[in-house]
């Protein structure tokens, strides 16, 4: 079994989907439990992976490779390294927890869980694929179930949100497809193998574009491909100004899907940039990272935070906080210091757990009050003390309270950024004030104050809901106190990545 760990992790959910499809549609509980069952093996394998991952090895591990479509040199090629391992773990964990967060779905249960499991497989595939063609397939596989999950099980404006999400991401995918083809045809022999593409990353240096008029900007073929890929990934992150699909999608998506969206899907943007832009185009990365990742990241932090401050919808607020927090990832990535880049990838992981918790928190109260209007609550702390405690934990984690995980990654990012771009670091650090501002104001309006008579009888958070949130809280605390559990996984590969880009920095 351990020879094909990643394959099992990716395709167990597909088997689960098939199983769910074979079940009678009215057996709701059976469908739920079977779905849950099929997310357990990936989770256990993730634990196994965590224990057996060689932390000192910067290269790919647990590799599986065989020819798939030999005519075009397409392979089934999977493996993990320090860049992807944390995302694989996060995906396995969130997929498992989100099954339980989806328990309340009672419309089209069979379809929902089947699509959810397919989504799970697609996400896992994106993080483990090492063949660009395979990567693209998983990327699209993940897109479709997401469209239906939002479009069918979403809120009142679900169709608008789903189409917007779909078109936006598809636009990115098309650019990515063009980039993939460009890469394929410029390698000799033509290949989609990422390790080959990375190994040949120095081959573009001297080919300027024939029709590019601005020679002094040193824009060549690789810069164009870099930009195409970047836009595709920036949409996913989401980086300003491509972020507007996110609030709509989040507001309409069911709770569990929001968790997956924020926890896993957004990370694909930054993951893709690290895996593809950074590894394959170190020179273009050196030229473009400052503006498109550093400066844009700092802008994301502030813009997202300011937008969050004036939101009226609780879920929208959390969505904009994601925009802000993903800014730290971008800023950290642009520093090319060990602290910054480790902090960035750690922030990807932390944002997944923290924001996951925040969306679960919104889901709990939405299920009870059937609205998310921040002004419409008040005094929830008196009615649901346990819920308030858990929520406060998540909120303070999001605020970067020292001792919890968000603090570690934000500090590492800012430490890294300070040396290279002190101004961006100051801007990023000012995010701590804004974040405290909008989150505390939210706490005040939702949880504190006089109790709203309407909700006097709201039931306390139940065991199932607690079960979805507590594991995340535990991880947030552990990573906050002892971040080496995650950092050790990352540092070797990220150091190698840094070293590839550093010679090309302007």
């Amino acid at each position: 079994m351990t020879d094909h760990v990643l394959t099992y992790m990716t395709f167990f959910p597909v088997a689960g989907m098939v199983a769910v499809l074979l079940l009678p549609r009215e057996r709701h509980d059976l469908i739920r439990w079977v779905s849950a069952l099929f997310t357990v093996p990936p989770l256990l394998l993730a634990v196994w992976l965590f224990r057996n991952f060689d932390r000192a090895n910067p290269g790919f591990q647990f590799i599986e490779k065989f020819d798939w479509i030999p005519a075009y040199n397409i392979q089934y090629f999977v493996g993990v390294d320090g860049i992807s391992i944390s995302m694989v773990l996060l995906t396995a964990l969130l997929s498992f927890l989100c099954i339980f967060a989806s328990w309340g779905i009672d419309k089209g249960v069979k379809g929902y869980f089947a699509l959810f499991l397919l989504l799970d497989a697609g996400m896992m595939g994106v993080f483990v694929a090492l063949d660009f063609f395979l990567f693209y397939i998983f990327w699209e596989v993940m897109l479709l179930p997401m469209y239906f999950l939002i479009g069918i099980w979403g809120g009142p404006r679900r169709e608008y949100a789903a189409i917007k999400f779909f078109l936006y991401t598809l636009f990115g995918s098309v650019l990515m497809l063009l980039a993939i083809l460009a890469l394929y045809f410029t390698t000799e022999p033509h290949t989609f193998d990422m390790t080959q593409l990375i190994a040949q990353s120095d081959r573009y240096g001297t080919t300027p574009l024939p029709f590019w008029p601005f020679d002094q900007l040193r824009w060549g073929f690789q810069h164009v491909v870099w930009m195409a890929l970047f836009i595709g990934f920036a949409i996913k992150i989401p980086a300003f100004p491509f972020h507007t699909w996110l609030p709509d999608a989040h507001v309409e998506a069911p709770t569990a899907i929001s968790v997956i969206l924020a926890g896993v899907l957004l990370k694909m943007g930054t993951y893709g940039i690290l895996r593809i832009n950074y590894s394959m185009f170190p020179e273009a990365t050196g030229d473009l990272a400052f503006w498109f990742l550093g400066a844009l990241g700092a802008w994301n932090i502030i813009y997202g935070a300011l937008c969050a401050m004036a939101q009226k919808d609780l879920k929208k607020l959390v969505a904009y906080s994601s925009v802000s927090h993903m800014g730290y990832v971008m800023l950290g990535m642009a520093t090319f210091t060990p602290h910054g880049i480790n902090g960035a990838v750690l922030q990807m992981f932390n944002h997944g757990t923290i924001t996951g918790m925040l969306f679960l928190m919104v889901g709990v109260i939405y299920d009870r009050a059937h609205h998310r209007d921040i002004e419409g609550f008040g005094g929830v702390a008196a009615i649901m003390p346990v819920y308030t405690g858990v929520s406060a934990f998540a909120i303070f984690a999001s605020m970067g309270l020292p001792g919890l995980s968000g603090f570690i990654s934000e500090v590492l990012v800012l430490l890294g950024a300070w040396q290279k771009y002190p101004v961006l670091s100051v801007l990023g650090a000012s995010g701590v004030i804004l974040t405290a501002g909008y989150l505390l104001w939210t706490v005040q309006r939702v949880f504190l104050g006089a109790t709203n008579e309407k909700y006097k009888t709201m039931p306390e958070i139940n065991g199932r809901e607690l079960f979805t949130m507590i594991p995340l809280a535990v991880i947030i605390l552990i990573v906050g106190v002892y971040p080496s559990v995650v950092l050790d996984l990352l540092s070797a590969s990220l150091e190698q990545l840094n070293q590839a880009v550093i010679p090309h920095l302007g």
């Binding site: 917007k164 078109l167 936006y168 300003f240 100004p241 972020h243 507007t244 699909w245 813009y303 300011l306 937008c307 969050a308 401050m309 004036a310 939101q311 904009y320 060990p338 602290h339 480790n342 902090g343 005094g379 702390a381 008196a382 405690g389 303070f396 309270l401 020292p402 001792g403 570690i408 500090v411 590492l412 800012l414 430490l415 300070w418 040396q419 670091s425 100051v426 650090a429 000012s430 701590v432 004030i433 405290a436 501002g437 909008y438 505390l440 104001w441 005040q444 949880f447 504190l448 104050g449 006089a450 109790t451 106190v481 002892y482 971040p483 080496s484 950092l487 540092s491 150091e495």
Partner: protein, 631 residues
Amino acid sequence: MTLLRYIPLFPLAGALLNVFVGRWLGRRAAGLLACAAVGLSFVVSFAIFSLLRATEVLREPLFTWMEVAPLKIEIAFQADALTAVMLLIITGIGLLIHIYSLGYMGHDEGMVRYFAYLNLFIFFMSLLVLADNLLLLFVGWEGVGLCSYLLIGFWYQDHANAIAGNKAFIVNRIGDFGFLLGMLLLFWEMGRQGVWSLSVSELQNITHLLRPERVRLITLLLFIGAAGKSAQIPLYVWLPDAMQGPTPVSALIHAATMVTAGVYMTARLSFLFSMTPETLALIAWIGGLTAFFAATIAVAQNDIKRVLAYSTVSQLGYMFLAVGVGAFSVAIFHLFTHAFFKACLFLSSGSVIHALGGEQDMRKMGGLRRYLPTTYTTYLVATLAISGFPLTAGFFSKDQILWAVHSSPAGSTSLWTLAWLTAGLTAFYMFRQFFLVFHGKCRVDEPALAHIHESPPVMRVPLVLLALGSIFAGWLATPEFMWGSLWEGWLEPVFSAGGVANHAASEDEILFMGVTLAISAFGFLLAFLFRSPENKIAEWLSRSAICRLLAGKYYIDELYDFFFVRPFTASARWLAQICDPGLIDGLVNGVAERVRGGSLLGRQLQSGNVQHYLFAFLAGALALLAYFLGR
């Protein structure tokens, strides 16, 4: 010896136990558990205090916190004389406040939650003073901010409390922003010397290698943090509002913990601050101005706790004044004595408020001497101490500050004039309060008067102990012409780098003391003359413009609101409600619309009408023909 870790560990365990099983323990057991936890910490702190030799530094590494080569930051504790003194204050006074709370909060439904927060507070504060590196210190730093937020907004059902908690946290965050930047800069500056740990002891070893202009910036940024936490201009605004919490919390925040963190931090990094006379001069001025400014506001307040709040801001100003002239040990000494008399004042005022069923307006008090004899005595002792009555704790510590400002080369006439004026104002507003509350005609409402009662022993015992401390704590450091100072000898190794006040000219010092006393006595006299609210001159004064300005706290809150809060929220609203959905998303939807429009136009071509197609075909053929013929 691995004792240090137990000091934060006990309160942490207490807090966790109360959070998770407190509701099954019951209120009384939860409270006792919390007291026991802090009591144990106090015992350990005392053991360390007595075992620690003067020049010794205990170090206790636990584990590596974060490691990203080259950066390596440890979770490690250290304890020297300064830490030991701070620990005694935190756990000792903290313990008394815990015990007092057993009585004060005895009937509150949220008592379990209250004690969990209180223990957490002690945990973070002890972490702060024990931390071996700045990042760990920052954990405690933010942690006390969190606890103060939780405790200020403890009675969260009242909107005002929740807002006060927010304000405290956010203003502190502004300071923390400065602190964080200072830390980032320091990190790289230390990194230039190959040290990547932010450890204070390693920093001390390489201080002389740092570039002075960088150190200037670092200390300035760190001081922003200190100004936030220790409520100095311009970030003092949160502290008076922090009165919204239960009164023992005010005592805890104002006396033993939290606000002392900024002073402690500057003292801990005294070797760094001593390098930059410019920063120190700024600190001295900020401290002096804050002391005076806050004292003037305190004069015109009518809320019993608000007067004390502004007096805390003012006294903290004194401490920074001492720091600014390089007299770090004197600053810590004032911190030490202030902890006793301010805790005593707050808890005594709590006793008054408790007796009156929650009344805080001094205009509705008066003549309480008869009803609350113990509280009256402790209040009097503490008031004397804060006003600098001879032989009380405040007398010695304040006198040393004034003397340090006078004798230090960094001091100036304007600074000690400011400090003197503040001494006079302090005596005035404290005795004004004292007379309003305890003397004169009783103005208590009828219903409250019926229930008026002295507090139970569990509250009175801490009061008496603190009152004793308010006198005798000062005897540890007396001028040379009395029996000298134990304190200087104890703390000197810690501050060897800093300037030490000059003790040679003792005649000058006696003269100086005399003037201070005269000014304070004048303040007392004024308070005595205006003691009755019906006094004609007092009444006329209270209606004057200047008094309204003071009562309105110089309208600083309103100014901040107008210049900072409103523009920020307005721009946030503009971004969120107009720019983002309108411009950015509008652009996206606009592109979609154009594409749709273009497609609709394109659709017209596919009309399915054969005549149209034929016409297009003919037109095309003719155009081609014309082109080729025309060549």
